[in-house]
Symmetry: C2
Subunit: 523 residues, 2 copies
């Protein structure tokens, strides 16, 4: 069989049956092989940043590697920002990137670039297939690397490797279970928690924020009095009613310092010790107090769930913790602000729903208010490269079509990858997108105030504001084939969320946010 | 003064007074310095691919370096595809890219990447400023490198370098005139042209396609009988009535081979010897006949205009060549296809207009039909990374506001960087965008046929087609604040072009192309 077909057959044997694609001429044999192999479904996106962001979302919800098909170096570069996000999320993604036929590279045709060099900053593993006979073996190596290393593995496929006969599919070894931390660390952790009460904190990240992990962590907290927290941004956190509310470490350095101030022992479970998102003049780079002892119970990628279970046993924390039973969320009223937005989302969250959160300043209240919502999964932008949420929600819906996905995005963020809406329309995905239209990069006005001690002036403001003209998101959505409404009251937002949740297929709600006198305080 | 201000002051002294921007937190001091410096105008784009494509267009029309302001590694990656195009166009672009404060990099915060590694594949020069005192000097070095090397020069600015006091602006040495080729090459060229008539061909590229270059080349051709041709894609070619028609080397290999078949001597003037855009199974990588002697009169970046003038003198080609006087273009009628599209554009081209051409299959007839149009400048996508034309036209209008820019783009191409329309609306730029809506990546169906010998089947077609749903470009345009119409006859297209040309500010025309039974033959 041809090399291209061997690649697909190898992917398929490893359980990968979907490829998010934006191909070009150098990938034509890989396009044709979709027909020949008959196993892999190609899903087209109009821009590669949608491809890579959707791959991240797909892998988070499907629980297996996602695959992408990209066109040469520039196509890979377009995918780069969301590959960065996928890398920070440790999401296994196999990038299949076409390259010129091997004899053609030296001619330096217009689209020739150093694809390996473009791939490396965004990949945990990079390889160019050297011969058709190795296509299957190298594909299996890419899948294994994406799983093992947690992140994008980039497989570069010369066109002649793909179009030539002589390919042999390969079997990918079954995914290894994540490594279990040393039992001595469990003993150490138990010792450190003992008697400290709320001066000890368990900081959870990664898989430890799954339904099992948060339940175990809550049991430990109930038993010892330790505080629980999650990293600021999380791959997939089980939240909502019936689950413990686990606050995030705040985004901004000062709020994070206050949050972590009285912590004597910080115990990391699939989390990294907190650092500030950015450096600021004259400020420390981390919000962790200098006197805090930081210990790793489970590193990112290790089995934090096992560690938490072992810690429960070691502590004798056998009783499930008590969970507060709050009233069911009610629909909000009044103008749309960070709180009423969160209330509407909490009111309308379906059980088992998925929230993709890139609302930035408008999303400040989401985790806390949504603690009362039906149990749901909360997916954050992991790498800080904005423009993640719309693609992420597209991929999440592809990865688990049984759940309705709600995407909450700032207007600035949404405009990097707005083309995601078209793929939602074509695939009729159950995604409700809420655009928080405050008509500015509001976070940046705040950062300007933080760093420069004043608001932007007349020459700076134009590069931070999104008015003049205001973007008409409902019109954009319809142009991409997605029905949409614009709302400017919390009641109308709540109604629109209800209507969107009752239908099949995508829907967009442009939520015009109430003006704020000053940039909001980001906590 | 602060480092950020020293950067702007250095840019301003070198004549750079506009910066295309999509900043983030790490660039806040550079945003503030727009206020403090008071000399540089920031122009916001909603996506970095618009920033870099506009920088390319700006530099092509303004005849000086463009500047960009980008956010860390992911922002730079988003700019990568159009930086690749700018690099292939040899357009001087100074990228100012923010980096974390120096002390913050080691903390590996979420947005930390290897920015130099991301920059290198798309830049001709890369440097990270090491200290505030060096900010001015390094900026001057970047400007000089962009001019001298022809392409993007990337200057990475740690946030603390930008926000700290101690910056000193620097003067950039005046741009050097392009190098003149050795006079012996002129003698050689004259000898090779002598007596060969149409079996010799002058292949023009780069600056040799300016108004002066094409006039001189035409004089040589009239005197010797040599044929003239241009590269397939050109940075800025003087075309239209009163100028010689210089055909492009066809895009597809077979057509290019036929075009170059009887050429004994190919004389390159700021051009490279032709290579096929892609490799194909069993085909040679270049359309140049093995027996053709290829000589370089002027390499890319050298002074081809001087070389042509010297060659005229050496040949005694003193008489201006005769130019055919065709009838003035008339408005077309009937369905919209590649020919009627070109006729409408020819009919409505204003004198001194600018055409940004990324129409791919729909644009096949443009150069030939537009030979009868009012004199205009023809700007092509140079690096083959589609999604160039809308940003390019945005930057072209910023770079020379005295001319109306017409952008002709395939629908697939336009969707990579559709956000450019918003910058056109905000800046009220005189750009008419024509979207050739054939609702497919038509070039790819053709390439599939070329490479695979058959049209795409039921599993391949979905990743090559743009229908289901058809994108509503007029709605997208209005969402971005640009007025728009949809037309499906050549008469209506012609009328809409006329109306657009009579107004100020941007306008978009969605031209629904007549269906074609088979992918068009690309010549």
């Amino acid at each position: 069989m041809k090399g291209a077909q061997a690649i697909y057959e190898t992917l398929y044997r490893a359980g990968v049956d979907t490829i998010l694609a934006n191909p070009g001429t150098s990938e034509m044999a890989l396009v044709r092989a979709l027909d020949d192999a008959g196993t892999i479904r190609g899903v087209l996106a109009l821009f590669e940043g949608v491809v890579s962001g959707a791959a991240d979302g797909y892998s988070r919800m499907a629980g297996k590697p996602a695959a992408t098909l990209l066109h040469l170096g520039p196509g890979l570069a377009n995918a780069g920002a969301n590959l960065h996000n996928a890398r920070r999320a440790r999401s296994p993604v196999v990038n299949v990137v076409g390259e010129h036929a091997r004899g053609h590279v030296a001619l330096d045709a217009p689209l020739t670039t150093d694809i390996e060099a473009i791939a490396r900053p965004f990949s945990r593993w990079v390889r160019t297939i050297g011969a058709t006979a190795e296509a299957g073996r190298d594909t299996a190596a890419a899948i294994a690397a994406a799983r093992r290393l947690g992140g994008p593995a980039t497989l570069i496929v010369p066109a002649d490797v793909a179009w030539s006969e002589g390919g042999t599919p390969a079997d990918t070894p079954a995914a290894m279970a994540p490594a279990r931390p040393d039992a001595a660390l469990v003993d150490l952790a138990a010792g450190l928690l003992g008697g400290r009460g709320p001066r000890a904190m368990l900081l959870l990240g990664g898989g430890a924020l799954g339904a099992r992990g948060v339940t175990l962590a809550h049991r430990i907290a109930s038993h010892t009095g330790a505080r629980l927290a999650s990293e600021t941004f999380n791959r997939r956190a089980a939240r909502g009613a019936g689950r413990p509310f686990i606050p995030k470490v705040p985004y901004m350095g000062e709020a994070a310092e206050a949050f972590l101030k009285d912590v004597d022992v910080l115990l990391l479970v699939e989390a990294r010790s907190p650092v500030n998102f950015f450096g600021y003049p004259g400020k420390r780079g981390t919000p962790v107090s200098p006197g805090t002892r930081v210990e790793t119970l489970a590193a990112p990628g290790e089995d934090g769930g096992w560690a938490l279970e072992a810690l429960c046993e070691r502590l004798g924390a056998a009783t499930p913790g008590r969970l507060p039973q709050g009233p069911a969320p009610q629909g909000p009223a009044g103008p749309i602000d960070a709180v009423s937005l969160a209330r509407a989302l909490a009111h309308r969250m379906p059980e088992g729903g998925v929230l993709c959160d890139e609302a930035i300043t408008s999303g400040l209240a989401l985790p806390e208010v949504l603690a009362a919502a039906a149990p749901y999964d909360h997916l954050d932008l992991m790498g800080g490269a904005i423009g993640g949420a719309l693609p992420l929600s597209t991929g999440a819906a592809l990865g688990d079509p049984s759940r309705r996905v709600t995407c909450v995005s700032g207007d600035g963020s949404a405009l990097y990858t707005i083309q995601a809406l078209w793929t939602q329309a074509r695939e009729n995905l159950d995604v409700t997108t809420v655009i928080c239209a405050n008509r500015s990069y509001a976070i940046l006005a705040y950062e300007h105030l933080q760093i420069e001690g004043r608001l932007p002036g007349p020459r700076a403001l134009p590069v931070l504001s999104l008015d003049r003209p205001a973007v008409g998101f409902a019109g954009l959505a319809r142009g991409f084939g997605v029905e949409a409404v614009t709302v400017d009251t919390a009641e109308a937002l709540d109604d629109a969320l209800g209507a969107a949740g009752a239908r099949r297929g995508p829907f967009l709600i442009e939520a015009v946010m109430a003006p704020v006198a000053l940039p909001p305080r980001v906590t």
